[in-house]
């Protein structure tokens, strides 16, 4: 699906601290995601998962720490610059631009890239991936169903041809079959193109099923970091943080 020249990049997070006023959302988080692999970030509600992704992508200014994409520090960069370093985010809860059409939303994803021909190609690939979108190209995104919007958000992130993809609860509101497909797709992209993925999921089970590595957050701190099977087998962890 993508040329091999655009290899995935490794993501390195060191001691990241993020606060909202008095609320400490991230308390020195360190995570390392090797290029071409999937790391699942798990944790209860309010653990700081979304805050982690938002801090990485620049939507929230982190207080201190380091964020390295392929060794390049993107800490504290504006989101528009982070995107250009090859790291894209699918925000929690869809984040499509309701007043634009499906097609415009998708095209936006690739606008920052200079390769026009490939941009168009990437949009068509997204349509191929999500047929419901293909049938609704000219419709305003606000008329889409919840699941269709989620597809649009995902498709749009892929149009950017990111090297690192930050997924915040991609299965939110998706039918089980689509969820399975998407997980499969993410896995395939990693395997085939070397995409690097940081995957936040409520649904720990399905996240761990595709991930190469798992990290558990609680109150803004990493409380566990291991391979999926070990995490899933840890009863304490499961009861305390993963809820299954």
């Amino acid at each position: 699906m993508r040329s091999m020249s655009e290899r995935g990049a490794s993501l390195e997070v060191v001691d990241l601290v993020t606060t909202y006023g008095a609320v400490q959302a991230l308390n020195g988080v360190s995570i390392s995601v090797p290029a071409g692999s999937i790391t699942a970030v798990l944790g209860a509600n309010g653990a700081g998962k979304s805050s982690l992704l938002r801090s990485l992508s620049g939507l929230v200014k982190p207080k201190s720490g380091k964020v390295l994409v392929d060794g390049q520090d993107v800490f504290g960069m504006a989101p528009e610059d982070v995107v250009q370093r090859g790291m894209s985010q699918v925000p929690e809860g869809r984040g499509v631009i309701a007043e634009l059409t499906v097609d415009e939303n998708l095209r936006l994803g690739g606008l920052w890239r200079s390769d026009k021909a490939d941009r168009a190609k990437a949009v068509e690939e997204a349509y191929a991936l999500f047929p419901p979108l293909d049938q609704r190209r000219k419709r305003l995104a606000m008329t889409l169903s919840g699941g269709e919007r989620q597809m649009l958000a995902l498709g749009r992130a892929l149009v950017a041809r990111p090297r690192v993809l930050l997924l915040d609860e991609p299965s939110l509101g998706l039918a089980p079959r689509i969820t399975a497909q998407i997980m499969g797709l993410v896995r395939r992209l990693c395997d085939e193109t070397g995409l690097t993925v940081l995957l936040v999921e409520q649904n720990a089970r399905s996240a761990l099923s595709v991930a190469d590595h798992g990290v558990v957050l609680n109150l803004g701190t990493v409380v566990a970091s291991d391979d999926p099977a070990t995490l899933a087998a840890d009863d304490n962890l499961r009861h305390a943080y993963l809820g299954f």
Partner: protein, 291 residues
């Protein structure tokens, strides 16, 4: 019949001015979701700058681009320095800031250029051509129509067909999502204001020969320009043109056949009527999903 024709024609050429103001408001609305109450005052101010050039012996064709250029700079400046800090606050804060700018610019213009009426030249003759014994349009009016139509067409194309236009709209609708997609939202907002101010300046320099130049010369034009924009649908440049022309003709008919005192009331009546039928203006997209 003569009279009807000439009333219609003068309504259309006046309407073109409203269209230009409406266009500038539509642009700012599309670009930043702010209604710029300072638009008229900004146009007035740049027209004064053009006037100063003329005073110092400059030619109209030097003054004209200078007005548009300073409009560009002024628009960018106001957005960057004054509106930017309140853009993320409650929406009405930006409105009050633009009100402040509006009052400030009127004061500044009075202070720098004096309060009195100034005449402002038209670049072409304003004597009507005669068709038989019907007096029709003047070369200057043709110039008005052409220049506003050109600017409108360019801006429409910019928004609808170019990447920059798409970026600008994305930035306006949802700044945060747009940034996440690599759009330099700040720049887009500034660009939107700058372009809008150019359209506004165009209106200012085109209307000045008819209403003279003074610190309040755009007040009335602004109000009807805003009305036109709302009638057309604030999101639609085409709507701005149609709204402007329609309003111009209407006002001309009312002044001619019913009396000038009914002009504002009839504008109100038409506005209310149209909004009752189409609450988001004539050219709005109606497909909205609420849940």
């Amino acid at each position: 019949m003569d009279r009807f024709l000439s009333v219609t024609i003068s309504g259309l050429s006046g309407g073109m001015i409203y269209a230009a103001v409406a266009l500038s408001l539509v642009l700012i609305w599309r670009a930043t979701r702010v209604v710029n109450f300072a638009q008229g005052a900004m146009a007035m101010f740049t027209t004064y700058l053009a006037f100063t050039v003329l005073e110092h012996g400059g030619s109209y064709w030097v003054a004209f681009p200078i007005a548009l250029l300073t409009g560009l700079v002024l628009g960018a400046f106001v957005e960057r320095v004054l509106v930017r800090p309140v853009e993320n606050g409650p929406p009405l804060n930006a409105v009050v800031v633009t009100l402040g700018v509006f009052i400030f610019l009127q004061g500044l213009a009075g202070l720098l250029f004096g309060g009195r009426f100034r005449s402002f030249p038209a670049p072409f003759s304003n004597k009507n051509y005669n068709l038989g014994n019907v007096s029709t349009v003047s070369p200057f009016e043709i110039f008005i129509v052409l220049s506003v139509a050109l600017v409108a067409a360019l801006l429409f194309a910019l928004f609808q067909y170019t990447d920059v236009g798409l970026r600008m709209r994305a930035a306006a609708f949802s700044g945060e999502v747009a940034r996440m997609l690599g759009v330099r939202v700040g720049r887009m907002l500034t660009l939107g204001w700058a372009l809008a101010a150019v359209a506004g300046s165009l209106a200012g320099i085109l209307v000045a020969p008819s209403v003279f130049l003074h610190p309040n010369n755009m007040d009335g034009v602004f109000v009807f320009g805003f009305t036109a924009a709302v009638i057309g649908g604030l999101d639609s440049p085409v709507g701005a043109i149609v709204g402007g022309l329609g309003l111009g003709v209407l006002l001309s008919y009312v002044a001619s056949y019913a009396g000038g005192d009914l002009q504002t009331l009839s504008a109100l009546a038409v506005l209310v009527f149209i909004l009752m039928v189409k609450p988001n203006g004539l050219f709005s997209t109606t497909a909205t999903r609420r849940v």
